[in-house]
Amino acid sequence: MELFEMTAAGLSRLLQTEEISAVEVVESFLGRIEKVDPYVKAFITVSAEQALQTAAAVDRQRAGGEKLHPLAGVPVAVKDNICTKGVRTTCASRALENFIPPYEATVIAALHRLGLPVLGKTNLDEFAAGASTETSAFFITRNPWDRERVPGGSSGGSAVAVSTGMAPLALGSDTGGSIRQPAAFCGLTGLRPTYGRVSRYGMVPLASSLDQVGPLAMDATDCALLQGAIAGYDLLDSTSLPDEVPDYGAQLEKPVSGLRLGIIAEQQGEGFDPEINSAVTRAVRVLKENGVIVDEISLPHQRYALSAYRSLVSAEFSSSLGRFDGVRYGLSQPGENINRMFSQSRGLSFGPAVKGRILLGTYILSAAQYEKYYLPAGRARTLIARDYSEAFQRFDLLVGAVTATPAFKIGAKRGDPHQMALADLCLVGNALAGVPSISVPFGAAGGLPVGVQFTAPPLREDILLRVAYFLEQHRESGTIRPRLSFLEEGGGE
């Protein structure tokens, strides 16, 4: 077995027993990137030099007998909307094509502190405003299960990097599904943590009130390891939660029996791909057989979730992107006066999807429309959050689909907000409520991976990871890696 085929936990064991060096590990993944990435285009920037430096430092420390984090030397791919000091951070936008942050996102600082080399920065929808990675200003990323299809998004590059063995672990960001949906489309385990569990400092926002950084990995064990490394209080993020971070890995093998599971009526069934419904049903069945108590639950305000989500995201997004005026950083177009400079710089900076969101947000926040679109969205959010907290009086976790369909064809839904939004149906309610959710690969539909989604009360990522781990042990099919037949056929860019 090649190093790049191993899980993070597997690499961790070999690194700790010094059977392999961190430099060897990084070199293996860099080689894999060189070979595979031209076919799928997951990376915007590969930071080989920095990754090798970190790895060499880890090897030296280990040789010196220092006590290291279990993941020390295990590399990570990072979504390119998370700022890396000294390494280009683009948000897949022309606006930041040459942006070198003079600061480090808190999660990246944590990776450095613990000795995880950063392999590079992965592709996304421009400013994470999308769900297919098609709106990247640079190139589209292809789903390795079927290169005619999207990998999902907006953390598509991160998902593809892990899925194809170009990185054992990846960081993504999830505003309304941007970790969970690409995880489902690529056959990975993707966790959206509780809002505030992971610092947002240095993550370029799509919508500050919803954004969370989280892990994408091959399995629950790896997911737990990376989540443990990035979670925790951050003085630089006022929305960060001070609660202590549990040892997620230590709780994976706890039995699931006795857990009370609610099947969300609105998040499977009619309108969903039959094979996805079947995956949910089979996952529930196996849990039930192992002592999980199952009942149905309705989330009555779910019907407002999509419109509330889109209203809030557009509003926040339009405001947060005002800063790209070409003065201090970013694409800058000189003009004969300041108005021209600003509007031309901004006009050249953004693609149509981003412009559309900015204008929608500008409209929604105008004094005349605020009470029509923005205020009710905030109220709906309160009601949706109440639905969840009431549900968690009766249940320890909830289950539904991640998406209504498996990965769709490239171009199939481009620019159609309706179609794209339907895909978000199960992903935004829990995000609005701020509760953690996980996408667990389970079953398949037409040869494509399918995910089942679990949602838990705030700060109960441990329950989600435990159930994900349990389902892995009861997975029907063997491998969850795509067969990269295109490597033999050639045709990479």
Binding site: Y103, V204, D237, S319, G322, R323
Partner: protein, 477 residues
């Protein structure tokens, strides 16, 4: 028709913190451009604001001193607009849930004491500074941006339209500034921009309770300018109304040199700032216990001090007002009064000669010890020196910081008195000036003054002119 002006003020005050509102950059004034900046205050993508504890505490103290109702929950909002001095294209401010509501400040107007009521007090952040490469903003081909000021904590105080003249506005601002200085909220330096004021003004027929069309007056960089600008804008509006015209809502600039207000833009299409809750900052919660803790740290306020100065030291209201408006001077007075009982005498020396000599000698009050002034006054009281010498000594004390007693001894400044000492000198002067004696005997008072002066000159000013005068009279008779 007689018109009455209705004026409300918006006052921006920079809070006296070491670091900025939402990041740890220094707030120092006058540093090299753009050296006090970081990813947060430069608005780099992905950075987040974290509230400065001291900024909140200072604003709460100001609100309490102004009798405002500090809100248990207040909310930060984004005020969105594009301007090159605004790094995020929004200012973090407070909109519909301000830190404090209501409150008032009592002012001694010429017509009597009256409360000027406040609408609200809220927290926000400063913008950067623009330097224009030309005479004015619109004429400059380009401008330079310095973000050192961006993110300095600001408190905005909004009054109700409770003021009725430029003079009233100035008196209010003077009293407000004093209060803020007392509480230690701000250094209130208008010349450095740490206190700024905009005004809204409208006219209505005297006695009417309806409000007229208002204009906003900006660009006033001193209290005097506020007074003049508002008087001028009131006249401008009155001329329009008297001619049967209508005032157009506008923002007016005070052009100090031309002594007039100039409408610069119509406010018709009022700016839409697209306010919404700042998602990066949870609500600011101020529990009652914390507010009470801060209340307990409030110092004595100007009005309270004036009352006490009158009661404890027997000062007149006008004297108390005068000395309390320079807190260091009032502190000096109270310190000295611990060891010197003749308070009024002390007050007159401090407010008169001391203030004068400080200015003349360019000395800072901080370098002067109250004990030295007391020593000087005691020498004077005991008759060991006379008043002219005392004044001379004060100058020496301020310049050298030396003890008056030692100066008297070393320079032989002690008062010269007594017949035995003075009579020979008197005799000498009379001998040398027979024509002056003649003149005096003919009833010319000036001649006596001339003779006194001569004797004083012989004593190098150390004799008591009164005593000399008496001796001269006795001798001539």
């Amino acid at each position: 028709m007689v018109y009455e002006a209705v004026i409300g003020l918006e006052i921006h005050v920079e809070l006296l913190t070491r670091s900025k509102m939402f990041c740890g950059c220094s707030t120092a004034f006058g540093d090299k451009p753009n050296t006090n900046t970081c990813p947060v205050c430069l608005g780099f993508p992905g950075t987040l604001p974290v509230l400065n504890r001291q900024a909140v505490a200072l604003a709460v103290k100001a609100a309490l001193a102004l009798q405002g109702k500090v809100q248990e929950k207040s909310i930060f909002a984004r005020k969105n607009y594009f301007y090159p001095d605004l790094p995020k294209a929004y200012q973090i401010s407070q909109h519909d849930r301000p830190l404090s509501r209501g409150g008032f400040l009592e002012i001694n107007f010429p017509e009597g004491r009256r409360r000027v009521h406040l609408e609200r007090i809220h927290l926000e952040e400063e913008a950067g500074k623009l330097i224009h490469a030309g005479d004015s903003i619109l004429e400059a081909d380009y401008s330079f941006v310095d973000y050192n000021r961006a993110g300095i904590p600001l408190m905005e105080i909004v009054t109700l339209p409770d003021l009725h003249s430029g003079e009233e506005a100035r008196l209010f601002l003077e009293e407000l500034r004093l209060l803020l200085l007392y509480v230690g909220v701000s250094d209130c330096k208008m010349e450095e921009g740490s206190l700024r004021c905009d005004a809204n003004i409208s006219l209505r027929p005297a006695g009417s309770s309806e409000l007229g069309v208002k204009t906003e007056v900006k660009n006033m960089n001193s209290f005097r300018a506020v007074e003049q600008a508002l008087e001028s804008e009131a006249r401008r509006q009155e001329e329009i109304l008297s001619a049967g015209g209508r005032v157009i809502p506008a923002t007016c600039h005070w052009e100090g040199e031309e002594r007039r207000t100039v409408p610069v833009r119509e406010k018709g299409a009022s700016a839409d700032y697209r306010y919404f809750t700042e998602p990066d900052l949870p609500p600011l919660m101020l529990e009652a216990s914390l507010v009470e803790q801060l209340r307990a740290t409030l110092p004595e306020l100007p009005a309270q001090r004036r009352e006490r100065l009158q009661e404890e030291y027997g000062l007149e209201a006008s004297e108390a007002l005068m000395i309390s408006s320079t807190p260091p001077l009032a502190n000096f007075f109270e310190e000295a009064a611990k060891h010197y009982r003749d308070y009024r005498h002390l007050f007159h020396w401090i407010q008169g000669d001391l203030v004068y000599q400080l200015r003349e000698t360019g000395t800072s009050l901080e370098t002067v010890s109250p004990e030295l002034l007391i020593e000087l006054l005691e020498l004077l009281d005991k008759g060991e020196i006379n008043r002219p010498v005392a004044k001379e000594l004060l100058t020496a004390v301020l310049k050298k910081g030396a003890s008056p007693k030692k100066l008297v001894a070393s320079k032989n400044l002690g008062r010269i008195s007594g017949r035995e000492t003075l009579e020979p000198l008197v005799a000498q002067v009379l001998d040398e000036n027979p024509e002056a004696i003649e003149s005096f005997l003919q009833g010319r008072k000036k001649a006596l003054a001339f003779l006194v002066g001569k004797v004083m000159a012989l004593t190098r000013g150390r004799a008591d002119p009164q005593e000399v005068s008496q001796l001269l009279r006795d001798k001539i008779k």
